[in-house]
């Protein structure tokens, strides 16, 4: 229930921000139906709104969507589906459906949790994207409504629960410095990709968690 409400509200924000970013209603719906991964969708319209290149927009969306590959590898052994159902399961592999599936003890409950959450979020996400896009179309000047500021707040809300660990906080600080320094010198969209590159390097060079570090880093 709380997942459903959060998804609905989040979908309205996406739909409204997408159309004020200059993405058409049909394109906005294509993103929610076909791409169906909130972070990647917000990132894509962010790069488009900033005037970034198509390549930067696609790369940013794909890099943010790469975590879904890990999710797919985790849920596939639980679902054990074949054929066309596997394509559907792949499309429904997102933060919410994976979290619910992994949180169950019984494998039958994990399967049910995955499908109910995945289908539920898909339906709500698309319905509320449409609602938000229609509302955004009617709004007019996005700056007068503060919608440019709402986009930053939306990303902050997405990253907030991921900042509990010390290592994540360090990488977040690095990302802030890299982004601010690069905005004036590289084309729109590139600062975000540079921040991703910094995170890859940080992930490679940082030491594995020790048991002591784990207790200090609730995640």
């Amino acid at each position: 229930m709380s997942v459903a409400v959060a998804t609905g509200l989040y979908g309205i924000s996406f739909g409204a921000l997408s159309v004020v970013a200059g993405v058409s209603l049909a394109q906005t719906m294509a993103l929610s139906l076909l791409l169906f991964s909130g972070g990647s969708q917000f990132a894509l319209i962010g790069v488009v709104a900033a005037g970034g290149s198509p390549a930067a927009a696609v790369t940013t969306a794909a890099l943010l969507g790469a975590r879904n590959t890990l999710y797919g590898a985790v849920v596939a052994p639980l679902l054990r589906v074949r054929g066309w159902r596997r394509l559907v399961a792949a499309q429904l592999t997102i933060d919410e459906s994976t979290a619910v599936a992994v949180g169950q003890r019984e494998s039958s409950a994990a399967r049910a949790g995955f499908w109910v959450t995945g289908v539920g979020v898909f339906v709500l996400w698309n319905a509320f994207t449409l609602l938000g896009a229609l509302a955004g179309d009617a709004l007019g000047d996005p700056r007068a409504w503060g919608l440019d500021a709402a986009a930053g707040a939306a990303f902050l809300a997405l990253v907030w629960p991921r900042l509990a660990a010390r290592r994540a906080q360090v990488v977040a600080a690095l990302a802030v410095v890299v982004s601010v320094c690069l905005i004036p010198v590289v084309p729109a969209g590139m600062p975000v990709l540079a921040a991703a590159a910094v995170a890859v390097v940080a992930g490679i060079v940082s030491r594995p968690d020790t048991p002591a570090a784990r207790t200090q880093e609730p995640s």
């Binding site: 509200l9 198509p54 890990l70 709402a150 930053g152 900042l163 004036p184």
Partner: protein, 106 residues
């Protein structure tokens, strides 16, 4: 971007993101179970989202600008610290920026 280029962008991103999901379903789980792979994935997501916060708040074209978006982000952070739901955070941020602009700043 023209409408056609934007369509290509939208569909290419959708295809790439679906392919990433599908690949996860095809490969053996243990291929990606390594601690380092998990860690890099987590950190890349954090870094990109933080970078998007910075860009959305400070960038106007290729200039770094401080305007009504910054106090709006501060209000959003406060709301998140108080465990406000997503829509409240976003609406408060928008209302802060809109209010400051109505008063003639930012």
């Amino acid at each position: 971007m023209t409408a056609t280029v934007l369509w290509v962008t939208v569909l290419a991103a959708a295809l790439a993101c679906f392919a990433l999901k599908f690949v996860g379903h095809l490969i053996p789980e243990h291929w990606l179970a390594g601690e380092r792979v998990q860690r890099i994935s987590t950190l890349v997501t954090v870094a990109m989202l933080v970078s998007l916060v910075v860009v959305q708040t400070f960038a106007t074209g290729q200039s770094v600008v401080v305007d009504a978006r910054l106090p709006a982000l501060a209000v959003a952070a406060l709301a998140l610290a108080l465990r406000a739901p997503f829509i409240v955070v976003v609406v408060l941020a928008a209302a802060t920026a809109a209010g400051l602009r109505a008063l003639g700043w930012g």
